[in-house]
Amino acid sequence: MRHPLRALALALALAATPACASLQLGETRIENPLDAARSIDQRAYALLHSYAAIVEEAGDIVRDPAAPLSLKRALGRAERAATPAVEALQISVAAFLRARADYEAATGADQPALTRAANALTIAANRLSEAVAAAERPVGELEALIRRR
């Protein structure tokens, strides 16, 4: 063969053509469950389950011997940053559900009791809203770390 490298390059190009043609780049579509929520408790619920799913996948990466140690450590740092915010969210959402149950129980009670329950529910809703906002960023960073690679 006079030009073995050229022949090789041509063979490779021909061999790669079907594979390249069938490539569907960016095929994986990642949903954002928070967008589907219509209330603050649904948003918190979506964020908690999303975080659990993200950490489950991060755990699978960390368990894989083929994954680079630098990636595993980066995931560890991101998880340590996100977990306190998610724990605060857990406390806020539990407080919100309690306040909402108290408010529902007070609907048959006298006006001062109902007002107190409504005020408590408003405060709990505001705190929950803040906790959701505070948890979204670190959870998003952990997710981005998984998706970026």
């Binding site: 994986t28 469950p33 908690l48 950490v55 990466i61 368990r63 083929a66």
Partner: protein, 106 residues
């Protein structure tokens, strides 16, 4: 995404089959390059598979929240407890796995 990584790995395997055709003096260097690419792809494939799994899980969460929102239903204490149990289990498993990985690190 995982399919893409698989296709690239197959392409790399096909390229490796042509190694004997490479001139002797360049063969070691070509093999080295293919080896580096194979390692990078292996790491990429790990993450790609997990991205696909994550997409499935997040789609399931979204479907559940969509149904909840469509029904105008509030989250119950039981559902919250279930979510918390899942978060704690995932977090504990992740930290244990990271500890094992760190212990096995050179």
């Amino acid at each position: 995404m995982f399919n893409l990584m698989l296709q690239l790995q197959m392409l790399l395997a096909a390229l490796s089959a042509f190694l004997p055709l490479v001139p002797d003096k360049l063969r070691a260097r070509a093999a080295e390059i293919l080896d580096v690419a194979a390692n990078a792809l292996a790491a990429g494939a790990v993450v790609a598979a997990n991205v696909d799994d994550l997409a499935v899980k997040l789609a399931a969460v979204r479907a559940e929240v969509e149904a909840m929102a469509a029904a105008g239903r509030a989250v119950t204490v039981e559902e919250l407890d279930e979510a918390l149990i899942r978060v704690r289990a995932a977090s504990a498993a992740f930290r244990a796995a990271l500890e094992t990985a760190e212990a096995g690190a050179p």
